[in-house]
C-alpha cells in the first residue's frame, strides 16, 4: 500500500480507511492541498473535518508550561506512581493505543473505561443477559429488503451509512435487486439520505418516542406469539400501524433493525435494545431477521474489543489489586470522578476535539490531539497524533467483525498515543 505520487509530487492515496466514525469507510481518496490534506472522493462531513484539520505541533506541557517530551513523560509516570487509584479514560485511540493503555493501567493499578461506555453498555448489558441475532454491514447491504431504523439518528452519527448500506444499487443476489422498504421508527429522524433514491421503494414513518420503542417491539413480539392485546394505541402508535409493521417483518426475506446506542439516551435504554433483540430472535424462528447496532465512534469499539480479549471484560475494569476486577457500575469513570473515587485522570482523545475531558478538579494527564481543549489546565499535557492521519494503526469496525488498517498520510512529529503510553509505562 505504497502511496501513489500525484502530478505535483505530493502524496495521493486511494482506498483510505477513515477513523472518524464507527463505520470505518475505506474507500476514500485523499490528496494534498496546500500544506494539508484534502478528501477528494467519498468524503463526508466527519471525514472532511478529520482529515482536513490543519496540522499543529504544540509542545508538551507540565502545569501549562512547555517542557520536553521526556520531562512530560517523567512527570506523568510520577503522578501515576503516586496515585492511589488512577483512572484511564477517554480512550479515543486505535488498537495499539488500547493495548498500551491496558498495559499501563495494569502496571499502575488503575481503572480503564471509554468516554462513550454509557452508550456501549446499552448493548453490553444485553449481550451479558440475553444476547441477539445480528448482521454486519456487507451482509445487510446485499441481503436486506427491509430496514427498520429504531429511534436513532443514524445519518448524523454515520453520514454515509445510508449511501453505502441501504441505497446501494448493486446487490449480490440479483441483477435487478428488489426495492427496499425503510421504516423510521422514532421521532424527528433525518430521512434525507433515503429520499428520492432509486433503490428505495417505500419510506414508512412511525413517529414514536424513543422511550416507547420497546413497547412497540414487545407488543409485536407478543402478537407474533398469538397473544391478544386489547386496546387501541401501542406505544403511542395506532394499532393498525403496529400490525402493519409486524406483517412487514414477517413477510421480509431478510429484515434488519438498526439502532445506535448513543441515540438512545434515556434511562434503562438497554431494555429497549433487549426488546429489539428478543423480537428479532423470535422472528428468526420462522424467517430471517437480524439486528445491526451502530455507533461506536471515537474508537469505542476498538477499546471494548481489545479490553475484552486482553482482560476478559468490556471496559470498566480495575487493576488495582493486580487482578482484573470488573464492575460495570462501580468502574464507570464518570461516576468515579463525580464521587471522587479517583485521584488522577489520564484522558486520551486522538480523533476529534469533541472528546473533551470532563471538567473536574481531579488532576489530569491529557494525551490529546492538539485541538482537544480541556476546561482546566491539565497537570501534564502531551499532544498525540491521530491514527490514520499522523501514524498507522488498526481499528475495529462497529459490527465487531471487520477491522481495518489505518495509514500515515502526512509527515508529522506528533507521537502515537501507544508510543507515549509505552514510555510512561517504562518510566513507572
Amino acid at each position: 500500500m505504497e502511496p501513489e505520487k500525484s502530478s505535483n509530487g505530493a502524496n495521493h492515496y486511494q482506498n483510505v480507511a477513515c477513523p472518524f466514525c464507527g463505520i470505518l469507510c475505506d474507500d476514500l481518496e485523499i490528496g494534498p492541498s496546500g500544506s494539508g490534506l484534502k478528501v477528494l472522493k467519498n468524503g463526508c462531513v466527519k471525514s472532511v473535518a478529520g482529515f482536513e484539520r490543519p496540522l499543529t505541533e504544540p509542545k508538551p506541557q507540565v502545569d501549562g508550561k512547555d517542557v520536553s517530551l521526556d520531562e512530560a513523560i517523567a512527570t506523568a509516570a510520577r503522578l501515576i506512581r503516586e496515585s492511589r487509584l488512577p483512572a484511564f479514560g477517554g480512550l479515543g485511540t486505535d488498537v495499539d493505543g488500547v493495548r498500551a493503555v491496558i498495559a499501563l493501567a495494569e502496571k499502575g493499578g488503575g481503572v480503564v473505561d471509554h468516554a462513550l461506555s454509557d452508550a456501549q453498555y446499552r448493548n453490553f448489558r444485553v449481550l451479558q443477559s440475553s444476547g441477539w441475532v445480528t448482521t454486519t454491514l456487507t451482509e445487510a447491504r446485499n441481503r436486506a429488503d427491509l430496514f427498520i431504523i429504531a429511534g436513532s439518528d443514524v445519518h448524523k452519527l454515520h453520514p454515509r451509512f445510508f449511501e453505502r448500506v441501504v441505497c446501494n444499487e448493486a446487490s449480490m443476489f440479483s441483477d435487478n435487486p428488489p426495492k427496499r422498504t425503510v421504516v423510521f421508527l422514532g421521532e424527528g429522524l433525518d430521512q434525507s439520505a433515503v429520499t428520492g433514491k432509486e433503490r428505495i421503494g417505500e419510506v414508512v414513518t412511525l413517529p414514536v418516542k424513543a422511550e416507547r420503542i420497546a413497547e412497540v417491539l414487545d407488543a409485536m413480539r407478543a402478537l407474533n406469539k398469538g397473544v391478544t392485546i386489547p386496546g387501541g394505541d401501542i406505544g403511542g402508535l395506532p394499532r393498525a400501524a403496529v400490525d402493519d409493521l409486524l406483517a412487514r417483518c414477517k413477510a421480509a426475506s431478510y429484515g434488519v433493525v438498526v439502532w445506535a446506542p448513543p441515540s438512545l439516551g434515556f434511562p434503562s435504554a438497554d431494555l429497549t435494545v433487549q426488546a429489539i433483540s428478543e423480537f428479532v430472535k423470535d422472528i428468526n424462528l420462522t424467517s430471517r431477521f437480524a439486528g445491526l447496532a451502530l455507533g461506536g465512534n471515537e474508537g469505542a469499539v476498538s477499546a471494548g474489543a481489545v479490553c475484552g480479549w486482553q482482560s476478559g471484560f468490556p471496559l470498566r475494569v480495575s487493576f488495582a489489586s493486580g487482578k482484573p476486577d470488573y464492575d460495570a457500575d462501580r468502574y464507570a469513570i464518570s461516576r468515579m470522578l463525580f464521587a471522587k473515587e479517583t485521584d488522577l485522570l489520564l484522558w486520551l482523545a486522538s480523533f476529534s476535539p469533541d472528546l473533551t475531558p470532563p471538567d473536574t478538579d481531579v488532576p489530569m494527564i491529557l494525551l490529546g490531539m492538539p485541538s482537544v481543549k480541556p476546561a482546566r489546565t491539565p497537570k501534564v499535557y502531551i499532544p498525540v497524533g491521530t491514527p490514520g492521519v499522523d501514524h498507522a494503526g488498526v481499528m475495529v469496525r462497529v459490527d465487531n467483525v471487520v477491522s481495518l488498517p489505518l495509514r500515515k498520510l502526512r509527515q508529522s512529529n506528533l507521537p502515537s498515543a501507544a508510543s507515549v503510553l509505552e514510555k510512561i509505562e517504562a518510566a513507572l
Partner: protein
C-alpha cells in the same frame, strides 16, 4: 550457548524413539549434535524424566471475534478465575474462555508450544491475528474458513474454471495469513441466510444450487492440487444431530479418496438407537476411519462442567440456542463471508445425552487404531476448555481410572456405548504422537513436533508420575526455541511466539475479479481486506513462520 539435557527418557515418534534414554543438546534455539569435545555451558540432569517435543494443539478456538464475543458475554466465567499480574506475566481471567495472554500462559504451563485457531473468517482475519498476537509464548496459526462465502459459491455455481477456484483458495490463504483451510457446515452457513434450516450432504443450496458434497470435493481437491500439506479441515453437515453419523460416513465415501481431516468427530458420531433415539455410532465411524487412510480426525472430547460453544456454524448453533446455559447467546450472519454462533453450555455427568457424548469421544479414541491420524482435542472450548487435556490423557492411559470415572456418570448412557468393553490403554509413545508428532506432520510444520537434530528446541520435560493427570498438568521444564520458559509449572520467561502460514502459488489475475467483486458488493476494499506481513510482524511483536507447500499441480 550449548545446553545439555542429560539422561531423560525420550519419546520422539517422528524419529521412532520410544522411551530410550538419550541426551539432547540445544544450541541457538535448535537441537544439535555437537562434537564430543564441545563445551557444555548448561546441563540439566533429567534422569528418570520423560522428554517429549512441545505439545501442539491442532484445533483450539483461541482467537477471533467469536471468542471475544464469548469473553465479553460471560463475566461469570471469569469471576473467581482471575490471574494477577506479576513482574513477568500480565493479568488475565477465565475458565472456558480465558483472556488472550492467560491462554498462552496456560498452554505453556501445560507443556504446549503451539495452538491452531481452526475457524478464522477471512473478514475477521485481522482481529483473529491481533488476538493471537496477544496470546503469549506459544506459536499459533489459523485455518481460514471457506465454503459459505459468496465469492466461492458464485464460482462454484457459475462453473468457474477450476484453476480460478484454486487461485481464489490460495489468494485467501495469503490474504488471511492462514496455514490451512477449513469448511464449516459446507454451504450451510450461507443457506441459513436464505432461511434454509438444514442442508444434508447431497441437498441443494436453495440459491446457488450446489451441494455440500460439491463444496467439500472442490475444496479438498483444490487444496490437494495446490500442494497445501494439511488436508481440507471439515466440520461436516449435521453437527450434533442424532443419526448424523450416516452423514459422516457418506462424507468419507464422498471424498473419493482425497485427503480430508474430519474435525471434532465426536459431535458427528451419533446414532438413533434406543428409547431416547440417541446412541453411539463411534464403532462405525472408527471402522471407517481405520479403513480409509486418506482420513484423519480430531475428537472434540466432551468434558463435564461449564463451557461455551463457539462455532462458525450459525445454522446448527441457532438450533442449539434452545440448550443455552446460561440462557443467553449470539448468532451472527457475517459479511457475505461466514457466520458464527456463541452459545454457553454446561455438560452434566448425570445427563443421559452429555454422558453419552463423553463416552462416544472416549470410544473414538480407543477404537481408532492409528494415532498418527487421530489428534487429542476438546475443540476448546466447545467440548470443554483445553486445560482438561491432562485429565483426558489419564482417561486414555489408565483404564482403572476410566472405569472409576464411568461409575460417576449417567449409567443408562453406558448401555448405548461400547466403552465399558474397551480395555485399551494409550502408551506415552502414542500420546506423544497424538499431541505432538501427528499434528506437526498433518499441518506440515517443518522442524517442529520432533526432537531430531535440526528441530527447533520446543521441548517438554515431565516427571514420570504414574498419575498421568498430575504428570501432564505440571511439566518440570518447558523450552521454547531453546529458551527455558517454564520450570515446575511456573513461567520463568515470556516470549512472543510466531505465526505459521502456508503460501501456495496463485495467479495474480484472480485479483481483477476479486477487486471488482469487493468494489461492487463489499464494504471493504480488496487492498484493505488483505493482511500484510508487516501487520503480523508489527514492529517485532510477532513473526512469520512460512511452511512449505508441495508444487502446485496445474
Amino acid at each position: 550457548m550449548l545446553i545439555k539435557l542429560t539422561g531423560g527418557k525420550v519419546y520422539d515418534p517422528a524419529n521412532g524413539v520410544d522411551g530410550e534414554v538419550r541426551d539432547i543438546f540445544i544450541e541457538n534455539g535448535r537441537i544439535v549434535s555437537p562434537e564430543p569435545t564441545a563445551k557444555v555451558d548448561h546441563e540439566y540432569a533429567l534422569h528418570g524424566r520423560v522428554i517429549m517435543a512441545g505439545g501442539i494443539d491442532p484445533h483450539s478456538h483461541i482467537g477471533g471475534g467469536k471468542m471475544t464475543i464469548a469473553r465479553m458475554m460471560l463475566p461469570e466465567d471469569h469471576i473467581g478465575n482471575e490471574v494477577a499480574r506479576t513482574e513477568l506475566t500480565r493479568a488475565g481471567v477465565g475458565h472456558a474462555v480465558p483472556s488472550t495472554m492467560t491462554t498462552g500462559y496456560r498452554y505453556a504451563e501445560m507443556g504446549y508450544t503451539a495452538a491452531f485457531e481452526p475457524a478464522m473468517l477471512p473478514a475477521n482475519a485481522r482481529q483473529a491475528h491481533m488476538e493471537m498476537a496477544d496470546t503469549s509464548i506459544i506459536d499459533k496459526g489459523a485455518f481460514v474458513m471457506l465454503g459459505s462465502d459468496d465469492f466461492f459459491l458464485r464460482q462454484l455455481a457459475g462453473k468457474a474454471d477450476f484453476s480460478a477456484i484454486k487461485d481464489y483458495i490460495a489468494w485467501t490463504m495469503h490474504a488471511a495469513q492462514a496455514i490451512a483451510v477449513k469448511v464449516v457446515n459446507p454451504g450451510g452457513i450461507s443457506a441459513f441466510k436464505f432461511n434454509q434450516r438444514k442442508l444434508d450432504l447431497n441437498e441443494k443450496h436453495t440459491y446457488y444450487g450446489v451441494t455440500p458434497r460439491d463444496i467439500i470435493v472442490t475444496l479438498a481437491r483444490g487444496l490437494n492440487e495446490l500442494g497445501v500439506v494439511h488436508p481440507l479441515h471439515i466440520h461436516g453437515c449435521n453437527l450434533g444431530v442424532p443419526g448424523g453419523y450416516e452423514t459422516t460416513l457418506e462424507t468419507i465415501r464422498g471424498a473419493e479418496g482425497l485427503p480430508i481431516h474430519l474435525t471434532h468427530i465426536q459431535f458427528h458420531s451419533y446414532g438413533t438407537e434406543g428409547d431416547k433415539k440417541f446412541s453411539s455410532a463411534a464403532a462405525q465411524i472408527a471402522e471407517a476411519v481405520n479403513a480409509n487412510k486418506n482420513v484423519s480426525c480430531d475428537v472434540g472430547q466432551v468434558m463435564f462442567g461449564q463451557t461455551c460453544t463457539a462455532s462458525g456454524d450459525s445454522m446448527r448453533q441457532f438450533v442449539n440456542t434452545r440448550s443455552a446455559d446460561p440462557k443467553k447467546w449470539v448468532v451472527m450472519d457475517i459479511e457475505c463471508d461466514a457466520g458464527c454462533g456463541v452459545v454457553p453450555f454446561k455438560y452434566r455427568d448425570k445427563s443421559f445425552v452429555n454422558a453419552l457424548q463423553w463416552a462416544i469421544g472416549l470410544e473414538l479414541f480407543l477404537l481408532v487404531n492409528d494415532p498418527w491420524r487421530l489428534f487429542l482435542t476438546t475443540d476448546h472450548p466447545n467440548g470443554g476448555p483445553f486445560t482438561w487435556y491432562p485429565h483426558l490423557i489419564r482417561l486414555l492411559m489408565d483404564k482403572n481410572f476410566r472405569r472409576d470415572m464411568m461409575q460417576k456418570i449417567n449409567q443408562d448412557a453406558l448401555q448405548y456405548s461400547t466403552l465399558g468393553s474397551l480395555d485399551r490403554e494409550y502408551s506415552l509413545y502414542e500420546i506423544a504422537i497424538m499431541t505432538r508428532a501427528g499434528p506437526a506432520k498433518s499441518l506440515g510444520l517443518v522442524d517442529r513436533g520432533h526432537l531430531g537434530v535440526g528441530a527447533w528446541a520446543d521441548i517438554t520435560v515431565y516427571d514420570d508420575n504414574p498419575d498421568r493427570e498430575a504428570m501432564f498438568t505440571t511439566p518440570e521444564l518447558l523450552f521454547k526455541n531453546g529458551e527455558l520458559i517454564v520450570r515446575n509449572g511456573k513461567i520463568v520467561k515470556v516470549v512472543n511466539g510466531g505465526t505459521h502460514v502456508a503460501r501456495p502459488n496463485y495467479d495474480r489475475g484472480i485479483e481483477r475479479s476479486l477487486n471488482r467483486y469487493f468494489e461492487d458488493f463489499h464494504t471493504v476494499r480488496m487492498d484493505n481486506f488483505r493482511l500484510s506481513d508487516d501487520e503480523i510482524i508489527n514492529g517485532g511483536r510477532g513473526s512469520l513462520i512460512i511452511q512449505p507447500t508441495r508444487a502446485r499441480a496445474a
